[in-house]
Amino acid sequence: MVAELLRRTWAMTWKDVTVELRARERINAMLFFAALVLFIFNFALGPDRETLREVAPGLLWLAFLFTGMLGLGRSFQAERENECFEELLLTPGDRESIFFGKLAGNILFMVTAEALILPLFGILYNLDIWGLLPSLALVAFLGTVGFSAIGTLLAAMTAHLRAREVMLPLLLFPLTVPVILGSVRATEAILAGGGLSEVSHWLKLLGGFDVIFLVVCPLAFEFVLEE
């Protein structure tokens, strides 16, 4: 049963990635937007290196989250615009596989964007992050999983609403406060030179959040997709 779920999930992810590789409408927009955000921060904050250093973790995560949001918004709208929702529902097997497939795609796109943002951030703002990359990557991954789990569910939901572009961030940000808080604090401690052990309780919070919503969201997804 688990093997079956994995196979279906993989098929779903593969479909999304192939579509993306052909059209590149999502990932290009995300990468360019990410670069722009980093660019704009500079004008918003001025040249003061000290201020920048202090707010760096928050900025980094704002860039991650806004870019991720851009990708999440597209994940079901493309299906809706091309009227593929009905076909999606006809996929055999449990609906969970659709959720996990979409989620894996969303995480993949967001991680790709983060892989660009992180080094670019280090270069543009002259931060010495190179030795810290593994621990930063772990925090980024844990945060991304939690954010995307709720994000994928809400994206499926808001795709059927009026004013869907505004509703996704309005619902997503309040719900993901624990993830945002945990990720930013953990990143802050790591950038300040603390090891992973110093942020263990934030990692626990992120991990716990991920577990809870990876269990709840796919079950809730069934009720969202119902026609």
Binding site: I150, L153, L154, M157, H160, L161, R162, A163, M167, L170, L171, F173, P174, L175, V177, P178, L181, G182, R185, H201, W202, L205, G208, F209, I212, F213, V216, C217, A220, F223, V224, E226
Partner: protein
Amino acid sequence: MGRGSLATRVLGGTAGLLLAAGLYLGLVVVPPDAVQGDVQRIMYVHVPSIVTAYIAFFVVFCTSILYLWKRDLRFDAVAVSSAEIGVVFTGITLATGMIWGKPTWGVWWTWDARLTLTAILFTIYVGYLMLRAFAEEPLAGARYGAVLAILGFLDIPLNHLAVYWWRTLHQPSSILRPGGPSVASDMLLPLAMNFAGLVLLSTYFLVERVRLERLRHRTAEVRLTRGRRG
């Protein structure tokens, strides 16, 4: 049609009387607090409102689960009505808390744990109400709302952990704590009175708001049958 049944009116009247008594007790009879002075009297609205709001959100959570399970629109009507009332009372809590904070802490707002949590709660349920307003199809809106309410409720303990690790300035809970309440007994009376009054008042609001939801359902039904016929 405009007025509720006799029982509802009695409910509303009792709530009003209790609140008036609580107001009189809290503003006139009970002495001011030793440290804070008269400002502490704000507590008699602030604390009962947040408890009422929490009860309302708990009702939203339960009825949302029941709706997804039984698919009876009456549960959904209670859920959406209760969410609206919860938002009203959370709003009152935030506003009175800010007014109390200015003379006591010296700031209108600070990003302390309890304040932050209440603000997050407020935004989650305002989002819920917007979702309900923006749903194109009522049945889908009911399902989405139920899912969001369950997610939001599960989020509360996580928010609690995150925000408490982040910062704490608000004094610990005065009433619900081991060793009994730390509020002098004659101050508990107006608190209890207002609490009972606000719970009754919110029940009254709930009954009326659910009636509104039923009216809307009936209107939609009539429209549907007429559309089919015509």
